[in-house]
């Protein structure tokens, strides 16, 4: 599944895309970073409203490849910079977490 396919499925935009192909085979929806840390599968997409630097830190550690920020929330510059630095794709959708999750589930 490419970033473009992911973005198209949830009417989203790609804000940061690492070089090369992004391999994802799972997704996890949560706004609790400890929950993400403990339970999100590796090589996955995180669907969340947590639009801050620490989200990228968690994804880096948990081998999450893509962050999909819901509700069209603003992305702070430091979060965007961290995503680019860590090679994590950053997408944004106007949808809420439930609907974004449903659209991604339909892709699988």
């Amino acid at each position: 599944m490419t970033l473009q396919e992911l973005a198209a499925a949830c009417e989203g935009e790609i804000l940061a895309a690492p070089d090369g192909e992004v391999a994802v085979n799972a997704a996890y929806t949560s706004d609790l970073l400890s929950d993400v840390m403990g339970n999100a599968p590796p090589e996955s997409v995180l669907i969340t409203v947590q639009n801050h630097l620490n989200t990228i830190a968690v994804c880096t550690l948990a081998d999450i490849r893509v962050v999909l920020v819901c509700h069209g929330r603003d992305i702070p510059d430091d979060m965007l910079a961290a995503a680019r630095r860590e090679g994590i794709a950053l997408l944004r959708t106007p949808l809420d977490q439930f609907h974004a999750s449903c659209r991604l589930a339909a892709l699988a």
Binding site: D31, L32, L33, S34, D35, V36, M37, G38, P42, T48, Q50, H52, L53, N54, T55, A57, V58, T60, L61, A62, D63, D78
Partner: protein
Amino acid sequence: MAQALKDKQIAPGTAKAKDSVIGAAANAGQTAEPDAGGDSSPLILLEMVHRLKVRDVMSTELLTLNRQAPMKRAQELMRANNISGIPIREGGRLYGLVSIDDIIRALEGGYINEPCGRHMTTHLIVLEDDMPVAFALRYFDRYKYGRFPVLNRGRTLVGIVSQRDINRVLLHELTQEFERLERAHKGVNVGVGEDDHLYMLCEYPVVKLDFENAGKAANEIKILLRDRNVDTRVTRRIAVAAYELELNMCVHSDGGTLTFLVSNGRAEVIAKDTGPGIPDVEWACRDGSSTANDWIRSLGFGAGMGLPNTKRVSDTFDISSAPGKGTTVRAGFALRLSNPEEEAKPS
């Protein structure tokens, strides 16, 4: 003295004084910049003498006299305050400076009771307050004076700077810089022991509520392990434990140290904080138990999953806490190197 003034009276407001005094200093300063501080100076010091401005190091508590004051008064002020020069100032404007040499000449010549205005040194080199300290150092080196008057852009006397002033501020800044470096990186020590086992000892300070840096230690540990070919699943478990413990200290403790130890095929993440301690450890280790406040929760932390997560991913887990003293958590792991065949299987 190359930039000496010919006018008897230094009037920094006039075009002549401006060109010959300030202008000269500024031009010479530009050529002095590349070798300021010397090539062998540590970068940190070079950066400092370029970052700090003359205004950051100068004394602003000025003892000055006007032109009518007798030389004897300057002599008394210098002796009483243990200083080597008195600027002669009227209405913010610098007219000259009475130095120890001027006093000695006045005593020899028998005119110690005559006004400063008549016998002061008017051939002055001055610095501007927004010049880098590197310029000032260069000037001390070049002119061998004990002090330079400092003017602002409006040509008003705003301070005086001596080498002692510069030393004092540089020492203070250096001390702060070293403390900062020490805090930022207590030490990473990695290698392979004689028994072919990997060993590591890394210490990372964790600062209370410093969310900007939270997770950096865990990330560094993860990179260290990945670069040494440690099994990716073990690496991930260690990274999760390190992150949770790091965040716990950041959110709940007064600060502490995260230590990562590898020896004899085992890894251990140790979080040791300085307080306040956990009154009920058993409760704190239960899923969902949290004392975090709302804004910490709004960041997605404080869900009461940190300790349970750590316990779940680690092979051994130990926590001890004393209210008022602090908490120490140890999470242990059996290390193994990556085996490509095995990792190809689903976990």
